[in-house]
């Protein structure tokens, strides 16, 4: 299990512990079976099959990259089993056998753009890792820009795991955008921010809005390289809700005081609670019954109120823009006020008409 997948698993196990301590679901204790997708999509599919066919689990929580979800999707659809996917993703999907507890594009990318527009950033430069999420995100960004009087000066992709960003930084500084929209993934963020910083580009003159940099990544990038930069998520460790104080405390108690919590972890943590709530409502862990009961299930979670949208099986989430602080935490500077209805196909956005 590579890097961040581990902490999502830890958060999910914490939720299971908590639910068991409170008496379990429908009078039964939850028993976790952990399998490792090894950051390898076909392995995700193999392990999902094993969990369903051999271990006969009630439901599966997990998946990391979009590719891992796409690889597992046919397994769950064919075997009519449930997957709870906890990561923000590129939308344009609504499988009847998947619940999406992370943000879809209109709960993360669109609010991020709204924020940049509000701040008067008209010229954008798009940087992403070469895979599905950044490419789809950038398509949305370009459509948004076209409809909102913004200009996209450049769109660049680098291979996954790429670590040489001097040429890209040169391209960016030459284009002189007002802001950079960053959909780089994993280790590439470290190299990108280090090299951007040492090229003397500061967050004040050219802020970078990132959608894959959370509290955990900040540590690896080095706070001094990323402090002052913008991120778009639905949850931060600093999010001020009673449920979050409890979550952060419980997580640190279980895994160590130096651990941080982040958006995907919180979404995974939520997923377990949402499933448990739906099962209670259905009075059964049967897949079809849970699916039917899930619509409208609503809970107060660390990120605030979340509600399952019965139609597309996504979750209503509050969008939050944050700024990375010198202590490595992220401070919220803007939020959407209320949970945003998930719209994976951006059907309610007129500018997105040509996308799907």
């Amino acid at each position: 299990m590579a890097i961040s997948e581990v902490t999502v698993r830890d958060a999910e196990l914490l939720a299971i512990d908590e639910i068991n301590a409170a008496g379990g679901v429908l009078g039964k204790k939850l028993e976790p079976v952990v399998e490792d997708g090894a950051s390898d999509w076909p392995t995700f599919a193999e392990k999902a099959t094993k969990l369903i066919a051999q271990d006969k689990v009630a439901t599966v929580f997990g998946g990391w990259t979009s590719a891992s979800r796409k690889a597992m999707l046919p397994v769950f659809e064919k075997r009519k089993a449930l997957l709870w996917y906890p990561v923000q993703y590129e939308g344009l999907e609504s499988s009847p056998y998947i619940f999406y507890t992370g943000a879809t594009t209109n709960q993360q990318i669109v609010p991020g753009l709204d924020y940049l527009k509000e701040k008067g950033k008209k010229k954008l430069f798009l940087v992403g890792s070469d895979y599905v999420f950044p490419r789809t995100a950038n398509k949305i960004i370009k459509a948004y820009a076209a409809a909102n009087g913004m200009e996209v000066l450049g769109e660049e992709y680098t291979p996954l795991g790429h670590t040489e960003y001097s040429t890209l930084v040169n391209k960016i500084t030459e284009a002189k955008p007002d802001a950079v929209f960053n959909t780089l993934n994993g280790d590439s963020n470290v190299a990108f921010f280090k090299q951007l910083k040492s090229a003397g580009v500061s967050a004040e003159q050219m802020p970078v809005m990132s959608v894959s940099v959370a509290e955990e990544e900040v540590k690896g990038i080095g706070v001094d390289n990323v402090a002052g930069q913008l991120v778009a998520w639905n949850y931060y460790q600093t999010t001020d809700t009673p449920a979050n104080q409890k979550f952060v405390a419980a997580f640190k108690a279980k895994y160590g005081a130096d651990k941080v919590t982040s958006d995907p972890m919180e979404a995974g943590y939520n997923a377990v609670y949402l499933w448990a709530e739906a099962a209670k409502k259905a009075g059964s862990t049967d897949v079809e019954a849970v699916k039917k009961a899930a619509g409208g299930v609503s809970l107060d979670r660390p990120e605030g109120k979340v509600t399952i949208d019965g139609d597309n099986q996504h979750v209503y989430k509050t969008a939050r823009i944050g700024v990375v602080q010198p202590d490595g935490q992220i401070k919220e500077v803007w939020n959407s006020g209320e949970p945003i209805k998930p719209d994976p196909y951006l059907k309610t956005y007129s500018w997105a008409g040509g996308l799907v």
């Binding site: 291979p159 030459e174 040492s198 690896g220």
Partner: protein, 284 residues
Amino acid sequence: MEGVLNQLPIGLSIGAVLLLIALGLTFTFGQMGVINMAHGEFIMAGAYTAYLLQGVGFLVALPAAFVVAGLMGLVLERTLIRRFYGRPLDTLLLTWGVSLMLQQLARDLFGAPNVQVVSPAWLRGGLGILPYNRLFIMALAVLSVLAIWAYMHKTGQGRRMRAVMQNRRLAATSGIDTGRVDQRTFFIGSGLAGVAGVALTLIGPVGPTLGTYYIVDAFLVVVAGGLGQLRGAVLAAIGLGLLNSYAEFWSDASLAKVIVFVAIIGFLQIRPQGLFFVRSRALT
């Protein structure tokens, strides 16, 4: 237009990174015939050394990483590689196994996420397009090459090393302890990987998979450089650095990698003699 000009120093600085990561390999691979897939993990060891020595001083980390990675190389040579001389393909697979274990070891020791290595304050800022840390890497690459050259040509150990590289059997019969020379070569080659690792903390991630990002590039430099000579590695690194820089500037990072690969295959068509030579009297 300024961007095009900027790509020149950028290309040179990419070349310097390539040279640093490949320098050790020109010894262990180019001259000893050992394909060390764990070279990337020695780079990683160097980077973690810099991580552990934060606060002590960045310049202290350089020799420390040289020694740490060098010792790792020495242990590897003494315990395993020694049995595999003359079987380069087997060493390749063997050291790959070692590299997997080292990656997992790093994960267990330091955790799976990247760790933070703060660049020293005196490397903040820059000169023109090149930040000081890039200039530092270039200077380090030049210094390493000079040091190696001086070692090989100006010291007795270096001369013995060259003797073994050119003709192992003859060297052995003229009283050179080839085993010792091999150990030294491996120590130096691996140590250089450690130095590269420290330098890479300035510009890239520091995590368990660090080595895997650089290993293929490092080998390509040695293949393109051929000859197993310092000169070949230097020229290949600079050439590939510039090619990378301009290919990426005019296309994108993904395509640049493909272009570099195609260029190397093409280069081999023109100058395969850089890559091997047939000994007429001792056919294999």
